[in-house]
């Protein structure tokens, strides 16, 4: 029994990859003037890397990038992303803040950044995190797509062991899932915010992860993180910590946020969505909507700030 429209889609439950793909197609079909689907590449196993583009027109508009589902087992992230997508089409034209953002910016939303891994969590191993690359010379599968980016690639805070959960891969951008985003970002050339969404530990992280040295914009990014986390907390009291990846959580090399920042995208954040200390990666489905709702408030703060502070 497939939902016939995105109104019928069950946002309160987790979904398979094919259901999420169907959701995207329905959303595009229902909102042809606002939403389109871009295929920015193929995964290691040949699955389409789909990105929803929300645009009210214009050419060469600045863009805001949001990705979810880069770590396969973090199911709450594509579930939240699906809710964000519906929220955008529902609120455009009604919410003045979002409308103003979309009148100036395009929003790009990649719901399942690591589709091979996501599919594998449904079919074979719910605890799978990495891509599904076969590593020559090793019986261990997969690369951590959040250690595979060029900035700081290969440094401490990533592993050269293919059996490690933080295996960096045979080379920077070796993962087609990562390379597709790199190519898209470079070809677009005008992304102004880059938000990559993970779970869980309730954090908002900005560059750098590779080094303890502060990034040039640390003061502004820190202040904005405070505003965003305050907005997030206002809904259900979910407490977030924030700071640079290095200082807040651990040294991590070759991560998305560092790369995006070094590409010149100032408003570059990693989110670690909620857990209340009971479920970790197995957050119950009844927490999808509250998680998405509170995260949306933080995203809006960052997107509005991006709009109001051109650079």
């Amino acid at each position: 029994l497939q939902p016939r429209s995105t109104d019928d889609y069950d946002y309160e439950n987790y979904h398979t990859l094919s259901e999420i793909n169907s959701f995207m197609d329905m959303l595009v079909q229902e909102n042809p003037k606002l939403v389109s689907k871009l295929v920015i590449g193929q995964s290691y196993e040949g699955r389409a890397l789909n990105v929803l583009k929300f645009s009210t027109g214009g050419t060469k508009r600045p863009g805001i990038w949001i990705d979810t589902g880069i770590h396969a087992r973090e199911w709450i992230t594509p579930a939240s992303g699906t809710w964000f997508a519906k929220k955008i089409v529902t609120e455009y034209g009604h919410d003045p803040a979002l409308t103003a953002i979309l009148d100036k910016f395009d929003i790009f939303l990649e719901l399942v950044t690591n589709p091979d891994g996501y599919e594998y969590t449904h079919s074979s191993n719910r605890m799978w995190r990495k891509t599904r690359r076969i590593n020559s010379g090793s019986s261990c599968i997969g690369v951590d797509p959040n250690r595979n980016w060029g900035t700081g690639y290969g440094g401490a805070g990533s592993s050269s062991n293919p059996c490690s959960e933080t295996y960096r891969g045979p080379g920077a951008y070796s993962e087609p899932e990562v390379k597709a985003i790199v190519d898209f970002t470079k070809s677009h050339g005008n992304l102004k915010a880059f938000l990559t969404i993970h779970s869980y530990s309730q954090m908002m992280l900005y560059p750098y992860g590779d080094t303890h040295k502060p990034c040039v914009d640390e003061a502004e990014l820190d202040e904005l993180a405070l505003k965003a986390s305050t907005a997030l907390e206002s809904l259900y009291g979910t407490k977030y910590t924030y700071g640079s990846t290095f200082n807040t959580i651990y040294q991590a090399s070759g991560v998305t946020t560092d790369w995006a920042y070094d590409e010149g995208i100032k408003y570059s954040y990693t989110f670690e969505l909620r857990d209340d200390g009971h479920y970790g990666f197995v957050l119950p489905a009844d927490q999808i909507i509250p998680t998405a709702q509170e995260t949306w408030l933080a995203l809006m703060v960052i997107m509005e700030h991006t709009k109001n502070n051109p650079y």
Partner: protein, 93 residues
Amino acid sequence: KERFEGHQVLRITAKNDAEIGLLKELSKQEDLGLDFWTDPVDQSLPVDIRVPFHSLQGVRAFLGYHEIHYEIMIQDLQDLLDKEQREMMRARV
């Protein structure tokens, strides 16, 4: 489909750097098959570890011996995953 019967997720709160160091040592013991959901970094952050059934006794003994405080965050991971699957199936119907 891989099953996780008897796997527990332990939430460990280290109280000093020495305990963090011990947990890092623990993470290097590959034969235990531990899955660090959150890593040992700093006393301010809890360390969550998925411990396979076959390693539970050893890990608990290690923590007990070193007097490292922990709580059971997930009693049996497979129970939770079965519930998750049931909810997905029910939602489809």
